[in-house]
């Protein structure tokens, strides 16, 4: 399948009109587009302030709706559901690809194709959601208006008709998913963090004060910071050392698999495995750690209840155990990419192994090191499963990610939960900014 690129299109037949390039044409386009957006915003406003109706009917395109699709899917035997979902997705992608391939071409037929696609697709997509009867007029109007606006902006775009259309089609699936799955929930959570338990009474910063004064809240903040500082450094140190040790050694693949294995185990599985290790009881020990302690004549220790912080370190070990393999695999690949000529040259210059490591290998794998460090830091900030499985947050082992769910499910306190989420968000923010900045730098270099 050959997709039209910008380069291709410049050689293709250009539109005869000049409204895309001359100043007057551009200004008219801009005015119309802005007016269109204002109109859409006005429609949305009218929809929101329209009088509420008690239990209105739902309008759908006959039996065709997203709801009925899921109902039909649920009726199928479990194994038939997988291909059914894949086929439905495949049809949607096929429609998008056909439009991307054909619609941007110049010509009367393709012009009509674009117009129909712009007007029909938004309407059908919104009608599949079965809007309520009091909203249906606004919904259809908004869909038609945005479709027409897109068509107009596309028709008069600087790069020629079809350019914007193609761009939107490429981006739309990802944009819709991100909006629904990440942006909307993030905004909703942020808004909820200023309301009380039930989400009706505005309480200002009370939830944030709770996070930093209540022992549960403060412990979750302290523990999260400990996790974020220790987990990445220790697991990267182990992973890097291991990757260097096994580099070019005999049996490298087997050694790699042994340490990589915990990565493939879920956090829940890892928690159960280590519960065995930490097991505590009187008499015969089941846990290896306590068996060793009693073998040397000590008393068995309840590892997961030793305060302060020892139990958090015990949980950290589980996380480090799973993440070392991840760090090792990526760093090992990076070390292999360091030219062996450089190492040999350094060797001829009379360096020892440690000098070769710090002066040749580490600068060579710097970008991989940063990626691994930031990834593991973000993962350790979001950790939930290990704490939930092993201690359930008891004995001050709670972390932000766990307490967030705990507050919401056990105590039904959406306000506290949302405030914890926003605090977590603030902790992750510097890392993302750092990552994003190095990313833009890389893109500029390219």
């Amino acid at each position: 399948m050959s997709l039209l690129t910008v380069e291709d299109k410049e050689t293709a037949e250009l539109p005869k009109t000049t409204h895309g390039v001359d100043a007057k044409g551009r200004r008219i386009t801009q005015i119309v587009v802005v007016a269109g957006f204002v109109l859409i915003a006005a429609m949305l406003f009218l929809l929101i302030i329209s009088a509420p109706v008690e239990d209105p009917a739902r309008i759908a395109l006959g039996p065709v709706s997203l709801n009925n699709f899921f109902l039909w899917l649920g009726g199928l035997p479990p194994l038939a559901q997988i291909p059914a979902v894949l086929i439905a997705f495949g049809i949607v992608v096929a429609i998008v690809l056909v439009l991307i391939e054909f619609a941007p071409r110049p010509g009367r037929g393709y012009f009509i194709m674009r117009l129909v696609a712009c007007l029909v697709i938004p309407v059908i997509a919104l009608m599949l959601l079965r809007p309520y009867s009091n909203a249906v007029l606004y919904v259809v109007a908004i869909a038609l208006l945005s479709g027409a606006l897109l068509f107009f902006a596309d028709y008069r775009s600087r790069q020629g008709a079809g350019y914007l259309f193609q761009l939107i089609l490429f981006m739309a699936p990802a944009a819709i998913m991100l909006l629904m799955g990440l942006i909307y929930p993030a905004i909703a959570t942020f808004a909820k963090s200023f309301f009380d338990k039930t989400g009706e009474q505005f309480v200002g910063l009370e939830n944030y004060i709770w996070v930093f004064t209540n022992p549960v809240g403060t412990w979750s903040v302290i523990n999260t910071l400990i996790w974020a500082l220790l987990a990445p450094t220790i697991s990267v140190a182990f992973g890097l050392a291991y990757a260097v040790f096994i580099d070019r050694a005999r049996g490298e693949k087997v050694l790699k698999v042994l340490v990589f294995m915990p990565v493939a185990i879920s956090f829940v599985g890892a928690g159960i495995i280590w519960k065995f290790m930490y097991d505590y009881r009187q008499g015969d020990q089941l846990g290896l750690l306590n068996a060793i302690v009693t073998m040397f004549g000590g008393d068995p220790v309840n590892w997961l209840a030793v305060e302060p912080l020892i139990n958090t370190f015990m949980l950290l070990i589980v996380f480090i155990w799973t993440q070392t393999g991840f760090a090792m695999v990526i760093l090992s690949a990076a070390i292999k990419a360091v030219p062996s000529e450089q190492l040999e040259a350094a060797e001829l210059d009379g360096t020892n192994a440690w000098q070769r490591f710090t002066n040749v290998t580490v600068p060579g794998i710097r970008s991989s090191l940063i990626v691994v460090l930031t990834t593991i830091t973000i993962m350790s900030l979001k950790v939930y499963d290990i704490v939930a499985v092993m201690t359930g947050g008891r004995d001050n082992t709670t972390v932000l990610g766990f307490e967030m769910v705990n507050q919401q499910q056990r105590f039904q306190s959406y306000g506290h939960s949302s405030a914890l989420a926003v605090v977590l968000f603030i902790f992750v923010l510097p890392l993302i900014i750092y990552n994003a900045r190095s990313l833009t730098k890389q893109r500029e270099i390219r």
Partner: protein, 181 residues
């Protein structure tokens, strides 16, 4: 000196050079790796494997034994069984057995792998090949969205699916009514 003689000498030199290169590479290789490092790696690998190995051994021990003695005693008086596996696959504690849970895993794993790759490939193509205003800004913004913790998205998504979209008490879209599926 005949032409054939020259060729023979040529191949001989070539072989000699190749042999020397191999030997030098082997020496260099040996100098860049060390016995001590390999031994340290093996020790780390053993420590990393013990927890999983313990679970593996436990999975073959009779249920009563796992409750009374540690897994390492199984080697002193071996008594192994496949009973645990049979039980887990056929009769779970709840109505869901491991076999149906496995089908559920497939139903999540396969679409969850295919969908993001296809959708992301479309967007990535636009980011890579189509030049538009604010491309870098948008790219960084999309990248920065990984900041949102999954737990943060769960509650709003659940209410969106089950209760639909209602703004300012005006009903716009209903939720999915899938209770009887």
């Amino acid at each position: 000196m005949s032409a054939t003689e020259a060729i023979v000498r040529d191949t001989r030199t070539k072989r000699q050079v190749a042999r020397d290169t191999r030997r030098n590479e082997a020496i260099a290789h040996k100098k860049l790796t060390s016995k001590g490092a390999t031994i340290a790696a093996v020790i780390i690998a053993v420590f990393w494997t013990i927890p999983t190995f313990g679970l593996f051994v436990t999975s073959f021990r009779p249920g009563a034994d796992t409750q009374s003695t540690g897994w390492w005693t199984a080697f002193a008086n071996p008594e192994f069984t496949f009973e645990n596996y049979a039980e887990a696959l056929t009769a779970g504690g709840t109505s869901t057995t491991l076999a149906t849970a496995f089908v559920n895993s497939l139903a999540i794993t396969i679409p969850a792998t295919v969908f993001p790759i296809v959708i992301a490939a479309l967007a990535a193509y636009a980011f890579a090949w189509i030049d538009f205003k604010g491309r870098n800004m948008l790219f960084v913004f999309v990248f920065a969205l990984q900041i949102v913790p999954l737990q943060m998205a769960l509650v709003p998504l659940l209410s969106l699916f089950s209760e639909g979209l209602t703004i300012n008490d005006v009903l716009i879209f209903p939720g999915l009514t899938l209770n009887d599926v």
